[in-house]
Structures are given as C-alpha cells and as structure tokens.
Symmetry: C2
C-alpha cells in the first residue's frame, strides 16, 4: 500500500509533457489541446492520481479548509443545535471541495481559533452563535479573516444568517394571547447570547399591536440552573399563570420536571411551549408545542455564503430563515389565531 504517491512530475514524465500541461489539464485554466487534456485525464483516472491539496494550497495561498467555531462550554456544545449546524456545514463544505477544521472557544479563550488563523490553516470561518461581546468575531475582523456568523449582530458589516427568532417568538406569543391566555411568563438563558435578546424582542412585539390587552406578563432571563427554574415555576404556579414560554429545550425540560414532581397537569393546569423541538424534548409526555427551525439548512446556507465570499462574490449582509410552529399536546388549541406557516 505504501507506494510513494504519484506526483504531477511523474505524470508529466510518463506522458512526455511538461508539468505545466498536466496542471492545466486538471485545472482547466490556460489554453490546452483537447487531445492532450484527454490523454492526461485518462492517465489520471487510470492511476487514481489525486493532487496534493496542501502543495496546491501553498502555491495558491489557500488551504481549502473552513474554520468551524463551536462553543466549548460544557453544557452548550451538547445542544443538538450545534450538531445539526455542523452536519449542514460539513456536507456543504465537502461538496465544494473544502474540509472543516474545528475550533472550540470558551468565554474569551480563543486560542484554538487563533492558532488556526496564525498558522494559516483556514480560508474563512463560521461562527455558530453571536454574543453581545463577541471576542471570536472581533478577532476575525481584526485579522481580516472572511467569516459568516450564524446568529444576529448589530454590526451590519458582518455577513450573518439566522432563523427568524424574533418573528417566531412574536407569532407564538400572539397565538397564545389571541387564544385567550391572560397571564404568561417567558423564561430565557443568558442575555449575553444575542439570541436571547432577539426572542425577548419578539415577545414584546406581540403586545405592541395589542394595546388593549389587559393580561399580565413577566420575563425571567439569565436563567441557567435547574434550581432557579424550580423557584420561578413555583412562584408562577401560586400566581396561577396560564402559560410558560421556554426559550430553549433545556429550560423546558426543567420546567416539565417541576410539573411532574408537583403533579401539575399540562396543559390542563398550565400550558408550556418551547423553542427548539429537539431530541432533548423528544419522547416527552405531553408532547411540547414548539418552534421548529431547519437547523441543518441553516448550516448549509451559512457555509454556502462563506464559499461565495471566498470566490470573491459580493454577499448580502443579512439572511433570515423561516420557522414553523408545531402545535402539540402541551397547549390548548392556539392555531386558530393565525395559522400562517412561514416559508
């Protein structure tokens, strides 16, 4: 097996042409005789030659690697969201002849990303979430590395793509309110994650157009811990709040837990909705009404945008992807309200 790998020089010699010619036959750049090209290609096929991409990269100052920046926090990286992103990105990159290089970053510690960049191992990068104070993003900007951000950011200069969390949260809230809910609570994670703020906006949007609404609403942000959730939910139960909107499936799991322990019936005594429809909540009883995003598609498109940028194409700054609302047993009928299925 360990035969020395074929090189372009070997082929050139074998065929009695120059390396230049072989190179051109493969790349299609530069003029070359149709017959010569065929000869070269036939030889390549027959001998299963494949070029050394590293050498090619050195000559062209490219690596054909994309950096995938993933949060390295313990509980975050387990979220199915990032896995699905990864799958979408990996597939798209692969189809375009690129490979994916992993960089895990944690709160302000971006050494892996720095290494990938200073070692010139990547041509561009994809951020898989956006932060209020985004150290990785700043680093990429300062070093002139092309990148796209999955998530939203105020900096209109950065190419970004996101699901419509704001619209989704607005519509979900509207449906609940229009369905007759008089009191509801929103529970979310760290405000440091921009997506948390975005969803909050959507929640508020829903009441913008309903000045006459005289119910009660409350919001709890920066909740990370099961015990915190417990406390909050206990409070909500004594206040007889009618519905809880959970910003992610981890939080929702905690909420459901409390219900189960206290033998509170969902949706009869309180309704619950969540945001991801992920495997974390799969198999739960009752099934949870939630937003559904096509996360793999998100990853694919993000990667597609980056590839375009690397080809030198102009790329529009912001892309927003749709959502669906999946109604299930954890809520009473709410679809009457609008029922629009976004593209």
């Amino acid at each position: 097996m360990e035969e020395r790998n074929l090189t372009i020089a070997d082929i050139a010699q074998e065929l009695g042409v120059s390396k230049t010619t072989v190179s051109r036959a493969m790349s299609g750049k530069g003029r070359i005789g149709e017959e010569t090209r065929k000869r070269v290609q036939a030889y390549i096929e027959a001998h299963h030659y494949s070029p050394n991409v590293v050498a090619k990269g050195l000559a062209q100052n490219k690596t054909f690697n994309l950096g995938l920046v993933l949060p390295g926090d313990y509980n975050i990286v387990e979220l199915p969201f990032f896995q699905k992103c990864m799958m979408g990105i990996s597939r798209t990159a692969s189809e375009a002849g690129y490979d994916v290089l992993l960089s895990m970053v944690t709160a302000g510690r971006i050494r892996q990303l720095e290494r990938a960049v200073t070692n010139r191992k990547i041509d561009g990068a994809i951020l898989t979430r956006t932060l209020a104070d985004d150290v990785p993003m700043r680093y990429l900007q300062e070093n002139g590395v092309p990148f796209v951000a999955i998530g939203t950011t105020n900096d209109a200069g950065v190419v970004q793509i996101d699901n419509d969390h704001r619209g989704a949260c607005r519509e979900l809230t509207e449906r609940l309110v229009d369905g007759g809910i008089r009191s509801l609570a929103l529970i979310g994670g760290r405000e440091e994650y921009i997506v948390t703020k975005t969803r909050l906006q959507g929640f508020e949007d829903a009441f913008e157009g309903r000045p006459g609404w005289n119910g009660s609403r409350q919001t709890f942000l920066n909740i990370e811990d099961e015990r915190e959730v417990e406390k909050i939910v206990e409070g909500l139960l004594t206040e007889r709040v009618e519905c809880i909107i959970c910003m992610d499936d981890f939080l929702c799991g905690c909420v459901l837990n409390v219900m189960q322990t206290r033998q509170i019936a969902v949706p009869e005594q309180i309704q619950v909705v969540s945001f991801y429809d992920s495997s974390m909540l799969a198999n739960r009883t009752p099934a949870i009404t939630s937003i559904r995003f096509n996360v793999e598609e998100l990853g694919k498109k993000a990667c597609g945008l980056l590839l375009q940028m690397l080809e030198g194409e102009e790329v529009q700054g912001r892309t927003l992807l749709g959502y669906e609302i999946r109604e299930r047993e954890s809520t009473k009928m709410i679809s009457a309200a609008s029922g629009i299925k976004r593209r």
Copy 2:
C-alpha cells in the same frame, strides 16, 4: 491589517543570517550558536512572527491535522457522547499543536474521510465508534493511515481504547440480581455497533457466576424506534418484570415515557437503569440510576495515543477505562451488593 505575512526569508534578511539559521533557531534542530538563536527568537517575538504551518508541512510531509471521524447519522450525532469525545480530542490535539479536521461518515459512505486522506490533509485519524463491519476502519488500514479507534474491535492489530462496558454492565447486573431482582430485561440498540454486543456480554457474564440463580431474564436488541420500545415495555409490564436495563439514554427516555403515560411508578412498580448519565436524561424524575463514564477523558486519551503513534512511539493495542455506577431514585438500594468503585 492586511500587511503581507512575515516569512522566514524576511527575518533572515533583516538579521543578516541565512534562512537555515532562522529555521534552526525555531526548531531547535541542528547546531546553532546560543547568541544567534536568542537574536532570532527576540526578533520573532517582537514581530509576532508565526511560521506558515502549511509550508512546514509540505517540507516535512506532515499536516499537523488529525481526522475526527464522526457518525453522520441523524440521531446518532446528537448523542452527547460524541460531543464530549470531540471536546477531549480537540483540547488534546490543540495542546500538541495539531488541529482537528472533521469527517462525517454514514453507513458505508465515507467520501469525506476519503477526501481527507487522498488530499493528504491529515496525519492520522480517530474513529469514534466501532462497527461489526467497519468500512471507515478498513479504509484507513488499507491506506496505511495511522489511527486509533474509540470502541472495541476484534482486530488486535488496531490501537483501541474503550470504556469498560462489559465490566460495567456485568457489575450493574450483578448488583441488581444480588439486590433481589428476580426478573429483568435488557434493551439495546443495533448489534451492528460493537458496543451493543459488549454490553450484552457483560450482562451474560453476571449470570455466569450464579448458576443457582433461578430468575428470568430476557434481551431485546436492535431496538431503535420509540414504538418498538413501547411494545416491549407493555409486554414486560404485564409479565411483571422487576427491572429494565437500557443500553442507552435514548432508549431509556422512551421507556420512561411509557411509564409516565401509563402512570407506572418508578421504582415502586418497576425499576429502570441506563447507561450514560447524559444530559438526555438530566432533569428526569425520578433520577435514573446509571453507569457513568468519563467521556471527555476517553477522547483525551484516544488523542494522546494517536499523537504518540505519530511520534513513532510504540503504543499498546488495547486500553480499557473505568466506570462508576451512580445510584439514584429509579432503583431500590442496590449498592450493598458490591459497591466497588472502579478506577
């Protein structure tokens, strides 16, 4: 920002030495004057020079990339196990100056891996699970790519590392049996995954040393689907089986679900144990007794082994890592049985 990157030639010229000398000052290879080395290093520090790893790699026929082979199946990649592996691997690789290149493979389709190999983008690879008919493994072997397998395989020639699933399943089963369980069932996933077989062996081992045991046991393998689980569990309930051992947390989630729907009390009416103690079961009520492996450590060690191999060191064929049994509310007291905590 976009200043052309410093090269070794620039430094040589600036310092009035040869490129050879600069190279040696950095690598420490070859004789070089102490004073010269200091001058070079001072310059490098001052100007934040960092070498072009791709060029270095071309000259040395190395890439400083490790291939991480991940299952690309939809529901599999979401298992927290693979994320934790990934974290361990990524950290260890990074500390050693390597980067991690992703290759997702699905049932027999290994194009991403092939590309990484034929494009000469990786120096070695890590398989994150082992299969009965392991296409990626065979490919790596045939192409002479050094690799380590996370998981177990019969081929004693492959460097492999695994948690002691067999011992863990044996001890867990023993404890249950010695604790007085008279009838129990084992539910597992695809036999195609070697780990499924390994656990089954451990289960059987437990009865090996108890020829006098006159309870009943049954096993259900190749279960993947929630509905299948439902059917099985219904059967088990009517048979009044006392305990169910689930081979993974997805299956366990399904089992718990049935219990919840049917209002069966765990552990009073039936006991349940699982195998991963992952976030998939976190926040469940009751808390589930399960095996606990240190998966990040597993990833780290696997990566460490591969790095050793790449350094040309001899590496022992098999490594087995310990486990703990975490007893929780889903079982009645079983720890009396042995209580050994493995290293």
